[in-house]
C-alpha cells in the first residue's frame, strides 16, 4: 500500500493557516494545542466593567433627561408655535378678501392690486352682500364694461 502522498499545493494553505493562528495569538486570542480557538464568556470582572459602562451611560442620559430643569426651557427641544385662539386671531381686514402675497416675478396678465378707499350707498352695500359679491368685483365688471364700450 502506497503511503498517502503529500500534496504540495496544500502547503501554502497550511502556512497561511499557521500565519493566521500566529496573528490571532498575537492579538490575545487563546488557541489550544490543536489550533482551536477557545471561546470564553467574559469573566465577572469583565462583566462588572461592562455594567459600569452601561450604568455610566445611563446616568448621563438620566442627567440629560431629568436634571435639566424643565422651567429653564433648555431641554424642551424645538418649540412649536401654538395655534392662536379664536379670540386672539387677527380680525378680518375688511369684508373684501385680498389676494394673498405671491412669491416670484409678476405673472403675465395679473396686475398687483392697489388699495382704494371710497364711499358707497348702504343700498349698494346690501345688494352686493346679498349677491355674494365684493366691491372689487363690481368695480372690475364696471371697468370691463367701460373698456368694452371703448
Amino acid at each position: 500500500m502506497r503511503p498517502p502522498r503529500r500534496l504540495h499545493q496544500f502547503e501554502p494553505a497550511e502556512s497561511n493557516y499557521e500565519t493566521e493562528l500566529t496573528w490571532l495569538r498575537d492579538r490575545g486570542v487563546r488557541i489550544d494545542e490543536k489550533g482551536r480557538i477557545i471561546v470564553s464568556l467574559p469573566t465577572p470582572d469583565d462583566e462588572d466593567e461592562l455594567c459600569d459602562r452601561d450604568e455610566e451611560e445611563a446616568s448621563i442620559t438620566e442627567l440629560m433627561r431629568r436634571e435639566v430643569g424643565r422651567r429653564d426651557g433648555g431641554s424642551r427641544g424645538r418649540r412649536r408655535r401654538s395655534v392662536p385662539k379664536a379670540s386672539q386671531r387677527m380680525p378680518a381686514r375688511s369684508a373684501h378678501p385680498v389676494n394673498p402675497p405671491r412669491v416670484g416675478r409678476p405673472a403675465i396678465g395679473a396686475e398687483v392690486r392697489v388699495y382704494v378707499q371710497t364711499t358707497i350707498s348702504p343700498q349698494t352695500r346690501e345688494t352686493i352682500t346679498r349677491r355674494g359679491l365684493t366691491l372689487a368685483d363690481v368695480l372690475d365688471k364696471c371697468a370691463q364694461e367701460l373698456a368694452d364700450d371703448v
Binding site: 364711499t119 368695480l139 372690475d140
Partner: protein, 72 residues
C-alpha cells in the same frame, strides 16, 4: 400698506356741512383694484363727475336692482 397705496376717492360734489335730512349716509369702504382698471374708471368718473363709489352705485342699480328697488 403705506399711505401712498391707499388712494382716497372723493365723491362729486363734495357735500359740505352736515348731511341733508333724509339722505342716507354713505358707507366708507376700502377695496382693491388693478391699476389699469382704476385708471379707466377714474378717467370715466372725471368725465361724468362721479367718484368710484358712485360709479359702483350706478352699476349696481343698473344690473342688480329692479326699477322699483332703486331709491331716489
Amino acid at each position: 400698506m403705506t399711505s401712498d397705496d391707499l388712494a382716497e376717492d372723493k365723491p362729486f360734489p363734495v357735500p359740505f356741512g352736515r348731511p341733508r335730512l333724509g339722505q342716507p349716509r354713505r358707507v366708507r369702504v376700502t377695496t382693491t383694484i388693478e391699476p389699469s382698471k382704476l385708471a379707466c374708471l377714474r378717467k370715466h368718473g372725471l368725465r361724468m363727475k362721479k367718484s368710484l363709489g358712485q360709479l359702483a352705485d350706478e352699476y349696481v342699480c343698473c344690473h342688480f336692482l329692479e326699477p322699483e328697488q332703486v331709491e331716489p
